[in-house]
Subunit: 123 residues, 2 copies
Amino acid sequence: MYTISDVAKLLGITAHTLRYYEKEGIIAPIRNANGERVYDDSNLAWLRFVMRLKQTQMPISQIREYAQLYLEGEHTAQARLNLLEDHRNSVQSQIRNLTATEKVLADKITAYKSFITKGTGIN
Amino acid sequence: MYTISDVAKLLGITAHTLRYYEKEGIIAPIRNANGERVYDDSNLAWLRFVMRLKQTQMPISQIREYAQLYLEGEHTAQARLNLLEDHRNSVQSQIRNLTATEKVLADKITAYKSFITKGTGIN
DNA sequence: ATATAGGTTAGAGTTTACTCTAAGTCAAAT
DNA sequence: ATTTGACTTAGAGTAAACTCTAACCTATAT
């Protein structure tokens, strides 16, 4: 069991952001007798997955959609699978994009280095 | 020589966005007698590179910084190289991130498929 | 007893990157 | 001559994702 600031520290985000995610329907931790949020390990695992989705450019609206489908039960499994497959395609396309740009950058970096040491033309 | 809407079409963005990039100090096309923007091939090549940087999450502020260094002349070559190397590192880290997430998604997708056809547990 | 360190809410403010509007200019087509 | 289409500017508006503030509550340490 974790407090909001425990979770914030573990995920490297702020408590403000966690409350915002809750307001956006991404997570719903239980409350203790004092009205304070209590996160368990399954909440933490879900939030870690959310962080992955965010780092790979899935918008909050789509993460919420997935979370809501999960709450609606097993009959939404196909819809969730579709969402995951769409995102996987997006991830693969981002990788292609980044790989191509990495090559362009590598070439430019080589050209700059040779310009700086030898005075060759820049592109 | 290209008009603003030629360039917009070629890059798949709007003329509004091109004017915004100009306001942000990312590009400075010349004007014709009529005060209209005229883009040449070097402008186009630069904008295509800008699109790459954007697609790989470089913020406008950093793209502007690179553009301004370029305008300041050859003595900024080292500073530009540093910027490019920093961004290359960011691109490489994004690729690692996306690759790891792709694996997580692949596993989840497999689990969902097996749940949908055979009724096995979901993660 | 009270100060401190945390938690709560509703809601306002900020940043980034556009996106659009209004009012106007200008050249070519009808 | 006037309509049409494409351009110009300054500046307002929008969407996403936070980020912060104010006012308040509550358990623990001094």
